[in-house]
Symmetry: C2
Subunit: 145 residues, 2 copies
C-alpha cells in the first residue's frame, strides 16, 4: 500500500523526462474525484475550487500529456463536447440519457454482441472507450408518458 495514489504516474512521467508538478497533481486528483464525464472547461472550473490560480492552458496541456501516457482518456459527451476521465482498469463505453443527462458505464459484455456482429460482417473493430450510446433512460421514459 503506497502512501500516494499517484506514485506510479509520477514514475511514468519521470521515465520520459517529464515532471510531476503541483498543478498536474491537482488536475489528476480533481479529475479522479469527479469520476469522469467532465469537459475541459468544467475541469478548469473544478480545479479553481481547489486552487483559484488554476489556468486553462495548464489544464489542457496536462490533459494532453496524461492522455498520451494513457492515464487519462476522453469520450464523446453532451453537445458533442469531449469529456475526460481517469482511465479505469477496464475499458468501458457510456450510456447517456439525453433527457436527464445521467450517464452510466457500459461494460464490454454488454456491447459484445454489437462488436462481434460488426467485426463478423464488416471486419470493423469497435473502440469501446469511444462508444457513447444515447437515448432515454427508464425514469425519463416514464415521466414523458
Amino acid at each position: 500500500m503506497t502512501a500516494d495514489r499517484w506514485t506510479d504516474v509520477r514514475r511514468r512521467l519521470r521515465s520520459r523526462g517529464l515532471r510531476w508538478t503541483p498543478q498536474r497533481r491537482i488536475v489528476l486528483e480533481v479529475l479522479d474525484d469527479l469520476d469522469g464525464h467532465v469537459t475541459g472547461a468544467e475541469l478548469v472550473e473544478s480545479c479553481r475550487a481547489v486552487d483559484p490560480a488554476t489556468t486553462p492552458s495548464t489544464v489542457y496541456r496536462t490533459l494532453d500529456v496524461l492522455e498520451e501516457l494513457g492515464i487519462v482518456a476522453h469520450s464523446h459527451g453532451r453537445e458533442g463536447r469531449e469529456e475526460y476521465h481517469v482511465r479505469p482498469a477496464a475499458n468501458h463505453g457510456h450510456l447517456r440519457c439525453t433527457a436527464c443527462g445521467t450517464t452510466w458505464d457500459l461494460s464490454e459484455p454488454e456491447v459484445r454482441g454489437l462488436a462481434a456482429g460488426l467485426f463478423g460482417r464488416r471486419r470493423f473493430e469497435v473502440a469501446l472507450e469511444h462508444l457513447t450510446v444515447e437515448g432515454r433512460c427508464a425514469a425519463c421514459r416514464i415521466v414523458d408518458a
Copy 2:
C-alpha cells in the same frame, strides 16, 4: 413526380408561417449533395462555393429551423463536433473509422441486438440517430499491421 424536390419542405415551412428563401434552398441542396456528415463550418464553406455571399449566421439559423421541422438531423462527428445531414426516410446510426475518417451508415437491424439488450436489462431506449460507433475499419486494420 414533382418538378422540385423541395416543394414539400416549402409547404411545411409555409404552414408554420415560415418562408422559403433562396438561401434556405442553397443550404438544403448543398447539404443534400454532401450526403451527410458535414459540420456547420464545412457547410458554410460548401455553400460559399455555390453562393459566395453565404453568411454563417444564415446557415446556422437555417439548420435550426430545418432541424426543428425534422428535415435535417445531426449526429456526433469527429472531434466531438456536430455533423448535419438531410434526414433520410429511415433513421440510422453511424460507424466511423478513427484512422481514415470514413463513415458508414448503421441500419436498425445491425443495432437491434444492442438496443434490445439495453432495453431488456435497463429499460433504456436507444436513440439510433444519435449513435456513432467508432473504431477501425477493415482496411485500416490491415494497414496498421
